[in-house]
Symmetry: C2
Subunit: 191 residues, 2 copies
């Protein structure tokens, strides 16, 4: 069952970790406590020896909305995480209200892409903005968010990233967001 | 976070529980150990005081494939679990191979319904066969199966249930199944 373990990650905010937190903004709903550093830890790692301000958990999973054509286009353009030039990161944690989860697949797909252009918007900022989505809603231990998206980009691409978020936040899909926290970081040794 | 807790269930096989196991068949892949009884326990329940032969965990989640029209038709016909006449139960635990999880949503939907008629086949046996799907793949603790489906029906509907399974098992979708265990039960006080 190693495959599943490697899909699960902990996002741990406290006083240690390679990412220095520059801002922590709650756009909708309750904020997350203040912390100075953040670390992303795979689930197989030994227990941490220090106290955290908060911890979130997420798992990478199969695609939920992209079609094969979109996937092919994304795969051709999307960069891996961990590029040396990408010294900025952002963690966007979202919770959608129950109305979203009561929709059927065709209804959710229509909102995500046909009405909100979520996939197309992300594509527009590739390969500058690397992205990885983690799912939290169906973990056994209930989580405060449904999704965590992790982004990495070079400092000069920060305005492009802000533009990307602005486009998504004014979309129909975002009307279903009942909690959103936006955390911006820089690599501690690059700050 | 009560909502999530109420979605998580444990399937515990051992020597106790209201369901008496009549058969335990592995159709593909490794079997599950033999046990005489089974209990389905919500995640909020206190720890069990007895030894189990095996435990599986699953969480109810949002619909993944049904369209609004299909959902409307299903909702109109599908019965709740727990009907007094439904003294037979079946637990079908499935794992699909990695090729399935690498498909995009449109490809999986095409296989599930347009090629395999999975939703239409289930519909044909409503309201006789009650069904609830639990997802296991994205739980934090890795599980041996991707899905558990729980069925309840009256004894006289057993041939119909066998027919339902036969139809599904010869479908294109089932070519992706790499492990399947089929457990049949009767209510202990009805046996």
């Amino acid at each position: 069952m190693t495959a599943t373990s490697q899909r699960l990650f902990n996002f741990i905010a406290g006083e240690q970790g390679p990412w220095q937190i520059r801002s922590n903004t709650n756009l909708v709903g309750a904020p997350l406590p203040t912390a100075s550093r953040l670390e992303v830890v795979g689930s197989c790692t030994a227990p941490l020896q220090y106290v955290s301000a908060w911890q979130l958990q997420g798992i990478t999973s199969n695609d939920r909305y992209v079609t094969r054509d979109e996937k092919t286009a994304l795969t051709a353009r999307q960069p891996d995480l961990g590029r040396s030039s990408a010294t900025c990161a952002a963690l966007i944690a979202l919770r959608k209200h129950s109305g979203w989860w009561g929709l059927t697949q065709d209804e959710r797909r229509t909102i995500v892409e046909e009405q909100s252009n979520h996939i197309a918007i992300g594509m527009k900022y590739l390969p500058a903005i690397a992205r990885r989505l983690y799912h939290c809603r169906d973990l056994a231990h209930s989580q405060p968010f449904d999704f965590i998206t992790w982004f990495e980009f070079a400092p000069q691409d920060t305005p492009a990233f802000d533009e990307l978020l602005k486009s998504l936040r004014r979309s129909v899909e975002w009307q279903f967001v009942e909690r959103e926290v936006d955390i911006r970081m820089v690599q501690a040794d690059a700050s």
